[in-house]
Structure formats: structure tokens, C-alpha cells
């Protein structure tokens, strides 16, 4: 007997959302080595990033959903991660996004976030969704705002400390 777990592929106008692979590791390591990762658990070493990549993939098997690797269709380049995340310690399912430094300013997080949110509502049948954002993370708040989300409340995460919970419009409002 073999246990297989699968990661569905999504497509948006400009992005392919696919399973994370080992090929994403060098670029993801650069992201986690940089200051950009300070709001999402970094910075961390390349070795710690390798385990994070394994965790991202395995989350799909444990929860039946997870985060996709984002690939720019025009170039085939890996440009970040986005998807649904609910590890132990999270109050509910979260919609999250991380973009590599060279992929910002193009609306990719908003585009991928909308597709992941639609997956949560339409495929998984969820009725609400939030994003947890570090208080100083203005870039992510701008993405959340573009997605129609609004500040809901504070939450104290065991590792990240105080974070803001941004509530997305429900399926009916979309």
C-alpha cells in the first residue's frame, strides 16, 4: 500500500500555483535570509529554510490544504508562496502570502490571494477567512485591503507574539 497526497494546481491570469518543490529552495532561502522575512518567522538559515519547505509541503497532507508555490507564467520563475495555512497554534485557517523581493509591486500577492480565497470558499466550502499580519507589515496590510479585508482583532501567537487579524469578505459578499 502506498499513501499519496496531492496538491491541486490553480491558474490565474499571470500565475501558476503549484506544489512546492526542491527547486524553489535556493530562491526561498534568499527570501528567508533577507529582511523581508522578518514578519513571517525569519530571518533563518538555508538549512532551516529547507525544513520550512518540507513543512509547507507536508501541511497539505496533514490538513488537506496548504500553500502553493507561485510561478510567473511569462517567465516560469518561482516568485513566492501563497495559500491556506493552519498549523498548530493558529486560531483558524489563514490566507497568507510571501513574495520574493523581485516580484513585488505587480499585484501578484493580490492575484494569488484571490485565487486561494476562492479555493477556500468554493472548493473547501469554508465560510470565513482571515489573514494574520504583523503590526508593522504595511505591505501585507495593503494587499489585505486590496482583497477587501479589514482589521478585525488582535491575536497573540505563541511564536510571533501580537499580530493583527484581518477578516476577509465572506463568500456571499464576493
Amino acid at each position: 500500500m502506498t499513501v499519496v497526497f496531492q496538491i491541486p494546481e490553480l491558474e490565474t491570469d499571470r500565475l501558476r500555483m503549484r506544489a512546492p518543490t526542491l527547486g524553489d529552495w535556493p530562491a526561498l532561502s534568499d527570501f528567508y535570509a533577507s529582511d523581508r522575512s522578518k514578519f513571517v518567522g525569519g530571518p533563518m538559515t538555508a538549512e532551516q529554510t529547507w525544513r520550512t519547505l518540507a513543512t509547507e509541503t507536508g501541511h497539505w497532507a496533514l490538513r488537506g490544504f496548504g500553500r502553493w508555490a507561485l510561478e510567473e507564467k511569462a517567465t516560469g520563475d518561482y516568485i513566492g508562496n501563497c495559500g491556506l495555512w493552519e498549523p498548530d497554534g493558529f486560531p483558524e485557517m489563514e490566507l497568507g502570502w510571501d513574495l520574493l523581493a523581485n516580484a513585488t509591486g505587480k499585484g501578484y500577492a493580490t492575484e494569488a490571494g484571490a485565487a486561494a480565497r476562492a479555493h477556500a470558499y468554493n472548493t473547501l466550502g469554508r465560510t470565513t477567512l482571515m489573514s494574520m499580519i504583523a503590526p508593522g507589515n504595511a505591505g501585507s496590510k495593503a494587499v489585505a485591503t486590496r482583497l477587501g479585508a479589514a482589521y478585525d482583532k488582535m491575536f497573540t501567537h505563541v511564536t510571533f507574539g501580537e499580530v493583527e487579524v484581518w477578516r476577509h469578505p465572506g463568500p456571499d459578499a464576493l
Binding site: 499519496v4 512546492p20 513543512t55 497532507a61
Partner: protein, 175 residues
């Protein structure tokens, strides 16, 4: 849909080695929070144990092999984690074992490590395998020796420090 990982089930004489799953989290968290995890970098918080359980599965996806949850053949109760491990900061693929407290003294690690070694050699075609132990983990060292492994040059891990490398018998010595 694309397959993210195929995790085969391996039967040993007394145990089943299967894909880790969410129902193993309680046992894995209990192990991670106990003194028993000190030899593998612990203790770990509940949140870390979830991430590590996910990473056990994700390793299969990244490498095409990994570690199994060892379970009781009748009850499926998780007894430990044994298999082949090769994260980026490891010198080469290793046979790794962890046994939960409830399964102590039943030679779970020995029986399943032999199965993992056979899987590495026979199914994956590997030519050599090691096991790494942290200083003071005399029980794991005794198990490596019981399997016929011998000391090789030490390896210095960036976080765990100096680790002893045990070189397992090669495939040709087992046939």
C-alpha cells in the same frame, strides 16, 4: 492534480511502517516535549511538533524518500519514527530512529532500522548509509553497533555541533 508524495507502507515482522498522519500528532508532540527528544535537538513546543510532523511528510516529497511512522500492527498506535533522512545540512542520507516511551524495550528501532536499511539498498539502490549520533546518546550508538555499523569521521553540524558518524554495512556485506 499532481502527486506531491508517494509514501509506501513497509511491513516488518512485528510492526507497520506507514506515512505519518494527523492522528500521530498527539504522540509526536508528547515525544517532542519530553526529555527523550533532547538527543535529536529537542525539546520542542507543540507548534514545533506540528511543523516537524509536516516536515516528515514533506521530506518524502522533496527527496523521494523519508521517515515512516512506526505503528502497532493491530491497533495502529504510533510507536516511533524510523527511516531515511537527508535534509540539506546532512552530509549524506542517514538511517534515523526515534522510539516513543510507550514502545520502549521492544527493539522497535532495531527491527525498523534494518527494514529502512534494506529499503535504502534494495528499493532505492543506495550504496552506503550512515547514522549520526549526538554526544551522549549511548543508546543510539549501541543500536548502530548492533546493526554492524562502525565509526567514521565526525561531522560538525551548524546547530547541533559535533556529531558522530556511524557507517553502516554496505549492501554487498548483507547479501
Amino acid at each position: 492534480m499532481i502527486g506531491a508524495a508517494d509514501i509506501p507502507t513497509v511491513q516488518t515482522e512485528r510492526f507497520v511502517m506507514r506515512a505519518p498522519q494527523l492522528s500521530d500528532l498527539e504522540a509526536y508532540t508528547a515525544f517532542g516535549s519530553s526529555y527523550r527528544s533532547v538527543g535529536v535537538g529537542g525539546p520542542f513546543t507543540e507548534a514545533q511538533s506540528f511543523q516537524r510532523l509536516a516536515a516528515l511528510i514533506g521530506h518524502w516529497s522533496l527527496r523521494g524518500f523519508g521517515r515512516w511512522m512506526v505503528a502497532d500492527k493491530d491497533t495502529d498506535e504510533p510507536l516511533g519514527v524510523v527511516g531515511l533522512m537527508y535534509p540539506s545540512d546532512w552530509p549524506e542520507p542517514e538511517i534515523a530512529w526515534t522510539v516513543f516511551e510507550c514502545a520502549e524495550g521492544k527493539s522497535v528501532a532495531y527491527e525498523c532500522a534494518l527494514a529502512a536499511r534494506a529499503y535504502g539498498y534494495e528499493t532505492l539502490g543506495m550504496k552506503t548509509l550512515i547514522s549520526c549520533t549526538m554526544e551522549g546518546n549511548t543508546r543510539s550508538e549501541a543500536l548502530a553497533q548492533r546493526m554492524g555499523a562502525t565509526r567514521d569521521a565526525d561531522f560538525t553540524h551548524p546547530d547541533y555541533g559535533v556529531m558522530r558518524v556511524w557507517r553502516h554495512l554496505p549492501p554487498e556485506a548483507l547479501s
